[in-house]
Symmetry: C2
Subunit: 209 residues, 2 copies
DNA sequence: TGCCACGACGAACGAGCGCTAGTGAGCCTT
DNA sequence: AAGGCTCACTAGCGCTCGTTCGTCGTGGCA
């Protein structure tokens, strides 16, 4: 099928005209390049080049290269947790919680592909204590999803041997969407999210309707 | 559950006593460090330090830093394809092929965690034409798995809307095992592989027994 | 019109990188 | 005992990195 693309150029449009430089513009360019080449594989001179500016000018709009990464990872991981707690209602039946949790998670990874790639690849390049804090956030989401699955099993709605294993599998399955999705493909973010919700429910052993 | 570990130190044991230096020893140390810090995040001086040797000594046993990465990725991707064709018998029913393909794939990612991490993270850091060649191998495996699923759907043994999407989901689910598995955990490679085969069959819509 | 804050710039820094060359110590062979 | 080979070493190369500093042109405001 031609619905998807592995073309990494889907991430980048070389800024043709030189627009006003702001912290957000710098952050956005860094995000694109970090996602493409990785944190250590990206030089500040490359970010400056994309922005049609000399390297030192960047320092008028940022703290340091490390700060860029920290801000990116911080916002991204906070967003995932915010998504989860916004859409998952503890009063809902576990299956419904799993459905909603998976949907936002996939949807975020489709609409925030660059952030997802950077978080998954370069969180380890942060300095302490930031590494620990960011990993703690990921663990929080992981445990929340695991609890939902465990509750579903306890309620007889789901059937898995190990909620932890199922939770790992589902999460990584969703994350990987960022690696192949293309906005130019045949599938919309919504369609992909719906498909992956179905996959997640199957992995979790939801009884067929 | 305490069956798994996210401790990255599971990858590295700092070589206490200085053993004889050989190309394989250098490659192994590079593999460990690349998996931990990434290709661009690893300096040759760090590899040398682990081996209790000065940096230039490495060049008696390797071509260049880039050669190390190339060798690692080359062996790893070739191994995946060899695994697939060794265990998957085209004469088998599609479901059986999917079962075997998933099992070796997970098993390899459990027993070759470092290789998997490096391939997924740093293949893009290779120079042309190596990048293209390695990606072509990954595509070959991807298409082979997709064909198996499509055949299963055609035979009425599996049920998915899009074999491509299911193939993506299953592959990445298996790959991610390298990210959390610990040999010190409660689960053996075989047990994890069996569990993930079950997950894969569920994603592919295999009818429950 | 004069002033001032903003910010892009050239120059340059110290550090670290991958890698090369030449030297000399230890070992095997004869 | 003498020779040659292997290989780890010191020294140092050219380069790029992230970052700092002081200058200077410009646009908004008095």
């Amino acid at each position: 099928m031609s619905a998807v693309s592995t073309n990494p150029a889907d991430l980048a449009e070389p800024r043709a005209t030189r627009t006003a430089l702001t912290p957000d513009v710098v952050l956005d360019a860094a995000l694109t390049l970090f996602a493409q080449r990785g944190y250590h594989g990206t030089a500040l001179s490359q970010i400056a080049e994309v922005l049609r500016v000399r390297t030192p000018s960047l320092y008028n709009h940022m703290g340091s290269k490390h700060d860029l990464l920290l801000t990116i990872v911080d916002r991204a991981t906070a967003g995932v947790l915010a998504d989860f707690h916004r859409v998952v209602d503890p009063a809902d039946p576990p299956v419904e919680q799993l459905r909603k949790a998976t949907h936002v998670y996939v949807h975020r990874h489709v609409t925030h592909r660059r952030e997802a790639l950077v978080v998954n690849r370069d969180t380890g390049s942060l300095a302490e204590p930031a590494v620990g804090e960011m990993q703690a956030r990921r663990r929080e989401h992981e445990h929340a999803l695991r609890a939902v699955i465990a509750a579903g099993v306890a309620a007889g709605e789901l059937r898995v041997e190990s909620p932890a294993l199922a939770s790992f599998a589902i999460r990584e399955m969703c994350v990987s969407v960022a690696r192949w999705f293309s906005p130019h493909g045949a599938l919309t973010a919504e369609q992909v999210a719906d498909q992956y919700v179905e996959f997640a429910l199957r992995v979790a052993g939801h009884l067929e309707r």
